[in-house]
C-alpha cells in the first residue's frame, strides 16, 4: 500500500472513531499537545491510561466480590476511571462510568456488576481501536509519510 492510501485510510478510521462515539473532542486536545518537543505524547498518555486503568478494573472486580461491598470505595475507583477516560477523550468508557456511578449511589450490587462488565467491554474495545490507530500511524511514518492532522470540520 502506498503512503497516500495509508493516509486516507487513517483519516477515515479516525473519523469513524469520532462518529461512533469512541472519541470526543478532548482527544483533539491530546493531539494538539504533541509536537517536535513532545513527539510521542499521544501514545504515552494513552498507554498510561490503559496501564493505570487496568489496575483500577482489577480493584473494582475485587471490591465488588467482597462480602460487604464498600460502595464508597467502588464509586471512588469509578470516579478515577471516569476522570482519566474523560481526559483522553475516551467517550464511551467515560459514559459507561457515569452510569456505573449512579448505581453505586443506589448501592445496587446487581446493576454495579453489570456496569463493571460494560465498562470492561468498552475499555477493551477502546484499547483495540487505539492500537489500530497507532499501528496505522507507525506504518505511515515507517513508509516515510507524515500523519495527517485530524480535521474536525470534515465530520
Amino acid at each position: 500500500m502506498e503512503v497516500g492510501q495509508m493516509q486516507r485510510r487513517l483519516v477515515e478510521f479516525t473519523k469513524s472513531l469520532f462518529v461512533e462515539g469512541f472519541l470526543d473532542g478532548q482527544f483533539l486536545q491530546l493531539q494538539q499537545l504533541q509536537d517536535d518537543s513532545n513527539p510521542d505524547f499521544v501514545v504515552e498518555v494513552v498507554s498510561l491510561f490503559f496501564q493505570d486503568s487496568e489496575k483500577l478494573l482489577n480493584d473494582l472486580t475485587s471490591a465488588l466480590e467482597q462480602q460487604d461491598v464498600d460502595f464508597k470505595k467502588v464509586d471512588a475507583h469509578v470516579h478515577q476511571l471516569k476522570g482519566s477516560s474523560s481526559s483522553i477523550g475516551a467517550q464511551r468508557v467515560k459514559n459507561a462510568c457515569v452510569v456505573f456511578r449512579s448505581f453505586c449511589e443506589e448501592q445496587n450490587l446487581q446493576e454495579c456488576m453489570r456496569c463493571l462488565q460494560l465498562v470492561k467491554q468498552e475499555f477493551y474495545l477502546a484499547k483495540n481501536k487505539f492500537e489500530t490507530l497507532f499501528t496505522m500511524e507507525q506504518q505511515i511514518v515507517a513508509a516515510g509519510g507524515s500523519i495527517p492532522a485530524t480535521e474536525i470540520t470534515s465530520f
Binding site: 478515577q80 474523560s86 481526559s87 483522553i88
Partner: protein, 143 residues
C-alpha cells in the same frame, strides 16, 4: 503583580496520573514551568509548610517557590479545598493564586472554594484554551 519573566512556575496537584500528565503538558504548552504533586501533603511539603505543626513557626520558607497553584478538588486524604485553606492560612503563601479543578459542576462546591479565596474554578477536562485564559487572567501575560 510581580514580574515572573516569561515562565511562571505552577504547582499542579492531582491524584490522577493521567490528569497530572495532561495538566503538565497543557501548562508547559502555555510556557509555564511545572512541578506536579500527587496529593495535598506532597504539595505542602514542596511549598515548605509542614502539616503536622500549627502556625507559622512550621514554615521552612519565607517566599513562595510558585506563582500559581492549580489543584484537583476530589483527592483522597486532603481535598483541594483543604489544601486551599492551608495555603490561604499561610502568611507567605496566601497571595499565591489558587485554582480549583473538578470534573463535577456543583455550584455549592464552586461557591465554597471561591469564598475561601480560590481565584478560579475550572471544569475538567481542561483544554488548551482554558489554560491560556487562566495564564493571561492570573499572571498578566505580556502579549
Amino acid at each position: 503583580m510581580a514580574d515572573y519573566g516569561d515562565e511562571p512556575h505552577v504547582l499542579a496537584v492531582d491524584d490522577n496520573l493521567v490528569d497530572r500528565k495532561m495538566i503538565e503538558a497543557l501548562l508547559k504548552n502555555s510556557s509555564c514551568k511545572v512541578t506536579t504533586a500527587e496529593n495535598g501533603m506532597r504539595a505542602l511539603e514542596y511549598l515548605g509548610i509542614r502539616d503536622d505543626q500549627p502556625g507559622e513557626s512550621s514554615a521552612s520558607a519565607t517566599t513562595s517557590k510558585v506563582n500559581l497553584i492549580i489543584t484537583d478538588y476530589c483527592m483522597p486524604g486532603m481535598t483541594g479545598f483543604e489544601l486551599l485553606k492551608k495555603v490561604k492560612g499561610s502568611s507567605f503563601l496566601k497571595e499565591v493564586p489558587v485554582v480549583i479543578m473538578s470534573s463535577e459542576n456543583v455550584p455549592t462546591r464552586i461557591n465554597k472554594c471561591l469564598a475561601e479565596g480560590a481565584q478560579m474554578f475550572m471544569l475538567k477536562p481542561l483544554k488548551a484554551s482554558d489554560v491560556k485564559k487562566l495564564r493571561c487572567h492570573l499572571m498578566n501575560c505580556r502579549t
